[in-house]
């Protein structure tokens, strides 16, 4: 156990972080663009485990990026891959069942949602059914990463949660706006929705939602290297929540999902 872990006493698992060449012209401080840099930062702040995804998979080639990621994290048992998944109509990516076969037992699937930039411009329930069917059948959690505000997509998100109730969805967005009112509805209706902390920054917001929906409403994820993991870590550390709830949000919920265990 590192010194930092001793300080906060939480076994954080970062469900939303990226490794690979940074897309900006200059790299942020301490960001080495590789798995060693991630591991060093985790040690510095006391983050026990992480589920990195690959920038190469996001911006360049899904298949190649996923394979590079597996290779890069192989020496580090504390890292679990977040594999990019995408529909395979064009044959550019293998069918999701084949992708799942390449993934270690404890892995996340990740889908980037952006109007123009990535393979998945929006969640089309019919078009992506093959992806969701395969993930749900294997109970592989899906990190759904909206790179912008998602209010125009909420009805599709609702259809996903409703149509595949056995598929755990970790919802990530850069920053919350009026969509939060939609989240309350979705949390109420769908147990398989877990919101990644990094974009949920409202003062007192986590405590309020946890009081109503329980600890499963949130999972720790940093959105690093764009944010420092310290932001969401301190947010949770200073939350007015019991230590049991903090442990669940910090890592235990994601650990359970990675092990494909069903909630008690």
């Amino acid at each position: 156990m590192t010194n930092s872990q001793t300080l906060h006493g939480l076994l954080f698992i970062d469900a939303a972080c990226i490794i690979g060449p940074y897309a900006n012209p200059e790299s942020p401080p301490g960001y080495e663009g590789n798995v060693e840099g991630l591991v060093r930062k985790m040690g510095e702040l006391g983050i026990a485990e992480a589920c990195p995804s690959s920038i190469t998979a996001s911006f360049y080639n899904v298949d190649e990026g996923n394979r590079e990621l597996l290779q890069a994290i192989a020496p580090y048992p504390q890292l679990h891959p977040a594999f990019l998944v995408a529909p395979n109509q064009t044959g550019e990516v293998p069918p999701t069942k084949e992708v799942l076969a390449q993934m270690p037992a404890m892995s996340l699937a990740k889908m980037l949602v952006d109007e123009v930039q990535f393979y998945t411009p929006l969640i089309d329930i019919e078009l992506y059914g093959e992806v969701f069917d395969a993930l749900a059948a294997s109970r592989t959690p899906l990190l759904l990463d909206y790179t912008n505000f998602f209010h125009e997509h909420t009805f599709r998100l609702r259809e996903l949660l409703k149509g595949w109730p056995q598929l755990p969805v970790l919802l990530k967005f850069p920053k919350l706006a009026c969509e939060e009112r939609v989240l309350y509805y979705l949390w109420e209706k769908y147990e398989n929705l877990h919101v990644v902390m990094s974009g949920y920054q409202l003062l007192g917001g986590i405590e309020k939602a946890v009081a109503r929906f329980g600890a499963r409403a949130f999972v720790f994820g940093s959105n690093s290297p764009y944010f420092t993991p310290l932001q969401s870590m301190l947010h949770l550390i200073y939350c007015e929540l019991s230590e049991d709830v903090k442990r669940l949000i910090a890592g235990d919920t994601v650990r359970r999902l990675l092990r494909k265990e069903v909630a008690a």
């Binding site: 010194n3 930092s4 300080l7 906060h8 900006n24 200059e26 790299s27 942020p28 401080p29 301490g30 960001y31 702040l45 006391g46 850069p174 920053k175 919350l176 706006a177 009026c178 939060e180 009112r181 309350y184 920054q201 409202l202 003062l203 007192g204 917001g205 986590i206 405590e207 309020k208 690093s224 290297p225 764009y226 944010f227 420092t228 993991p229 310290l230 932001q231 969401s232 870590m233 301190l234 947010h235 550390i237 200073y238 939350c239 007015e240």
Partner: protein
């Protein structure tokens, strides 16, 4: 060491943290679970010493200023009043005099997006020609102006005795060249609350503006105090520089020494 105390969840009172960017009241655009008086308990939990509160969430700025004055009276050791100004609410300098001489406010907040439906889209600069009088009053009474829109680069250049703080400026100025241009005005500062706060932007701002011209703020209740601490605490700068950003600079600008 401040970082270790924060990681242990300790109250950070001894570091005398001032949040320069706080809104009193509630905006309809978002659900705000801990706004207004509820912010006090949250700030104490983290150990923030003072909130600089403005009432620009109110459609009527004078009403917002009255509410902030009552808030500051209720919590005199924790709340510093900041005057919200808007030209459609009458003579801004008269309102400013009331805020400073009657309420004891120590700064000004202006926001270019406060125009209500159906006038949204109008340039707030076109509505009233009183801004120059506001800047002169601010210089005379040493009131820093926290601005989100409204203020132009010409204003910053033409009123060198007035202190301008760009709200969200640490990441609102894009690219090195824009940051360097605004940093060339000694009367220009930036604050830290932003929506898309990248680590890169934060460090670049410290390198270009220097730790003496950055003020820590959160945008509470839209953002959590502890969440925003991390932005500065994780930067590879000295503890002394961090303390300037967390409160030293604000204390100097607000005349709180």
């Amino acid at each position: 060491m401040m970082l270790h105390e924060a990681l242990a969840g300790k109250r950070l009172n001894q570091y005398r943290i001032i949040d320069f960017h706080v809104h009193y009241g509630k905006w309809g655009v978002m659900h705000m679970p801990s706004h207004s008086d509820a912010m006090i308990a949250k700030m104490e939990l983290v150990g923030v010493e003072k909130l600089c509160a403005n009432g620009i969430t109110y459609p009527d700025m004078a009403e917002g200023n009255r509410a902030v004055a009552a808030f500051a009276r209720k919590y005199p050791n924790q709340v510093v009043g900041i005057a919200g100004l808007y030209p459609m609410n009458g003579d801004m300098v008269e309102e400013l005099k009331r805020c400073v001489f009657e309420y004891g406010f120590r700064g000004i907040k202006v926001h270019g997006q406060m125009i209500q439906f159906p006038y949204r889209g109008l340039d707030v600069r076109e509505i009233g020609g009183q801004w120059e009088r506001v800047y002169e009053f601010a210089a005379e009474h040493h009131l820093p102006i926290l601005y989100h829109g409204v203020v132009t680069e010409d204003d910053i250049c033409n009123f060198p005795q007035t202190t301008f703080v760009m709200a969200h400026g640490m990441c609102g100025l894009k690219g090195r060249s824009e940051k360097m241009r605004f940093a060339s005005y000694p009367n220009h500062y930036v604050d830290t609350p932003v929506t898309q706060n990248t680590v890169l932007e934060a460090l670049e701002s410290v390198q270009i503006f220097g730790a003496d011209r950055i003020l820590w703020g959160t945008d509470a209740p839209l953002d959590d105090f502890a969440h925003r601490l991390g932005v500065i605490l994780d930067l590879p700068i000295s503890e002394e520089e961090k303390l300037k950003i967390f409160g030293g600079n604000a204390r100097r600008l607000l005349g709180l020494e």
